[in-house]
């Protein structure tokens, strides 16, 4: 499957905006990604291994938080995973 890397994290993927991984679940895909690019890990996960609150992960067009199996959801080679930090603010 293809994992799309957002602009701020490309500094940790040698400038790549997309990384191909061969994984059976979302968790395995993220593990493979961070094994290949270890510096990514602290940007995606808290010290106890949870996805940081401001990091959104989408499987195709679905927010992984709302999938029944969440990160354990099975994936295929045709799926895409988007990592999208949140954007908000105000005066």
């Amino acid at each position: 499957m293809t994992i799309f890397i957002p602009t701020p994290l490309r500094a940790f993927t040698a400038g790549k905006d997309a990384v191909e991984v061969n994984a059976a679940t979302i968790t395995a895909a993220l593990d493979e990604l961070t094994a290949a690019f270890p510096d990514l890990r602290k940007h995606l996960f808290t010290s106890d291994g949870k996805v940081r609150a401001f990091v959104n992960i989408y499987l195709n067009d679905e927010d992984v938080r709302y999938l029944p199996a969440k990160e354990a959801t099975e994936v295929s080679s045709a799926d895409t995973l988007s990592i999208i930090p949140s954007i908000a603010g105000g005066r």
């Binding site: 799309f4 957002p6 602009t7 701020p8 500094a11 905006d17 997309a18 602290k42 940007h43 940081r52 401001f54 990091v55 959104n56 989408y58 067009d61 927010d63 988007s82 999208i84 930090p85 949140s86 954007i87 908000a88 603010g89 105000g90 005066r91």
Partner: protein, 153 residues
Amino acid sequence: MSVLRMSKAVYDDLRAHGEETYPHECCGALLGRPDPDGWSIKTFVKAGNARTDSAHNRYQISPGELVKIERESRLRGLSIAGFYHSHPDHPAQWSQTDFAEAHWLGCSYVITAVANGKAAVTNSFRLAGETEENKRFEAEPIEVEDAANQDGD
């Protein structure tokens, strides 16, 4: 110091977005290409303000919309270079809320003050730093280029 470059058309249009949504905050994404010292913005995408509960002083782009914007930028050979929003009847300076909610390191956050419905000052701040723990906003100049001086896209 980084520099944010954009055409006058982009600059005028994103400021006009703040007038359209006044007295609510507008928001959107800046699409461009990296320069050695900043970003060249080629276009922007208007986004809906997901903070309908407090749109006069808060903004949020829904992650689902961001995924679509990111996909569109990739298809156009561009990157999300930053975001813009407006501060209705408030200075064009980043707020503690802006800072707490800023997570796109290396990207530009453009703020337009809209006073009584008219776009006033527009400022840009680069989210500098290497991690969430040492991030900081740094003011950066906006270079507005005439169309005649733009390179091709």
